[in-house]
Amino acid sequence: MANDAEIRLRDRLSKLSGLDLLRGARLSGELERLKRQIDRIEAEPTDEEIWSKVELARHEERPYTLDYVERLFDDWFELHGDRGRGDDAALVAGIGKLEGRTLALVGHQKGRDIKERSNRNFGMAYPEGYRKAMRVMEIAERHGCPLATFVDTPGAYPGVAAEQHGQGGAIARSQAAMARLKVPTVACIIGEGGSGGAVAIALADTVLMQENAIYSVISPEGCAAILWRDAGERQKAAAAFKPDAAHCLELGVIDGIVPEPVGGAHESHDEAARLLGAALADAFDGLEGVPQAELRARRRQKFRSMGVLA
């Protein structure tokens, strides 16, 4: 796993420690500095590791929301439509039982084959999708059932009709709806957590992220096109903004990482579902018994404190 920089540093370090200590203090200071740099490099995932997460998060065989629903939920009933304009297949919603607990669920859904992919719009929701999500959040609130959300989208759909139907406002209001809920909420990033389209349904008490999922402010391609003026620099961009789960945890953006089967969730949908189901049940157990007002205040306080100031 050692990259060039690390090899160079180690080389220098061994040369330095081999010298006799004629130059005394300055040399030992240098040794310290090099050791610190090596420690840092060892702890940091390399650019290649980060990019491999991006590829795993987008893997064609990766389980999607309904794959998990099928394996985890009993008596699942899917709800359709936003009661206004249409039904968005890129975002699914429904109610079902997870280990005996009735849950409402909202999640992005990608398609498996060409036809389904285009029908599901590659998991990129229109405002109709977010309005359906808000409708189901209301149901959860009304009947006191906890809400789970699965995030897996490259982003909200950037199209003329989506703008005309109010994409920005729908994403804002979906977050506001989650900030108002008094029932326990758990979000899990199960693949791509792309920008506003992802955060629209991720303002939850507990935010989990699968080991090989990514959560980012913009796609690596988009970032490379804007900052490097070259979409081909996507690996550099991904390495720069660090969308992997370990960094998100370190920055306090997520509360926990859900393990995946060896090699990634696509290697075994059943095993991935078992691990996710266990993590969800744990998360909801942890939120049980917290008074409603406190739950909501704590959720808002958590997001209120996000960010790093100089």
Binding site: P158, A172, A179, S216, R229
Partner: protein, 281 residues
């Protein structure tokens, strides 16, 4: 090959053709009229020939809106950190330092209390000239503090947005400023105070998809772009022919996403009227 030549790949290319030379900032992009600084300031930075609304910097905007001397700035000392050690073609630290020198601002948002026609309010005004008005940790923190100050004083919050969206250089933390500001608005609303949101050109991306859309009243300046995805992204993703008024305030009014389009000369009296209506708690 004929097919391929129709696809525009210019932005995916390092050696993109030079953009056309920039016009002087005081030359109207719509009608070509040119103004001296003092002429433009006297006209509230609106073209006197064709009504084009030029961008307004945050301090200038406050001068235009607030009663003279009434603005008391808050949280001016906050500065961005560089949690990701972000480096694209230049380092984020350099970009920040440069933006501060160029604009004299610590971040893209100015907040503070003020009065407009003697009505008390809290102001949160964005400045597009500071890194494209992008929202990073400091921007989100200042907006949240503005909500808290307004709630504590029981007065409405007036926000003027002009932003390209989240600040990429802060990565996921920039995205998290969306839920952060949304939570702050929820708390403000629960304390019984109003949010009056004014969208100047442009209000796009993360701003539109968070606090800017959550105002009790949404106002827009004429010709302001207010779309979640910018026209270039939409055109490239969908290969659709965009309508001429794509994402503009006028189109948003037609589709029901804003309450009114307010010309700059009318903005101060309009806000004052709304402040009287929503008033002190």
């Amino acid at each position: 090959m004929v097919e391929a030549s129709r696809i525009d790949v210019s932005i995916e290319h390092k050696h993109a053709p030079e953009p056309p030379p920039k016009k002087h900032p005081n030359t109207c992009p719509t009608c070509g009229s040119h103004f001296r600084d003092d002429e433009l300031d006297a006209a509230l930075r609106v073209c006197t020939h064709c009504d084009h609304h030029f961008p307004v910097k945050a301090r200038k905007r406050i001068e235009q809106l607030a009663d003279p001397g009434s603005f008391v700035e808050e949280a001016a000392e906050l500065r961005s950190a560089d949690p990701l050690d972000f480096f694209d073609l230049r380092s984020y630290k350099d970009r920040l330092a440069e933006a501060e020198v160029a604009t004299g601002l610590g971040d893209a948002l100015l907040i503070g209390s003020a009065t407009i026609e003697e009505q008390s309010c809290e102001l949160a005004v964005m400045d597009f000239s500071f890194m494209g008005g992008s929202m990073g940790s400091v921007t989100g923190e200042k907006f949240a503090r503005a909500c808290e100050s307004a709630a504590a004083a029981g007065i409405p919050l007036v926000s003027i947005s002009a932003s390209g969206g989240a600040r990429m250089q802060e990565g996921i933390l920039a995205l998290m400023q969306m839920p952060k500001t949304v939570c702050a608005v929820e708390e403000l609303h629960e304390s019984g105070c109003a949010l009056l949101s004014v969208m100047a050109h442009p209000t796009t991306g993360g701003l539109l998809a968070s606090f800017a859309s959550l105002g009790d009243v949404l106002l827009a300046e004429p010709g302001a772009l207010m779309s979640f995805a910018g026209p270039r992204v939409v055109a490239q993703t969908t290969r659709e022919k965009l309508p001429d008024d794509f994402g503009l305030a006028e189109s948003n009014l037609r589709f029901g996403h804003v309450d009114a389009i307010v010309r700059r000369s009318e903005l101060r009296p309009t806000l004052a009227r709304l402040l009287r209506l929503f008033g002190e708690r």
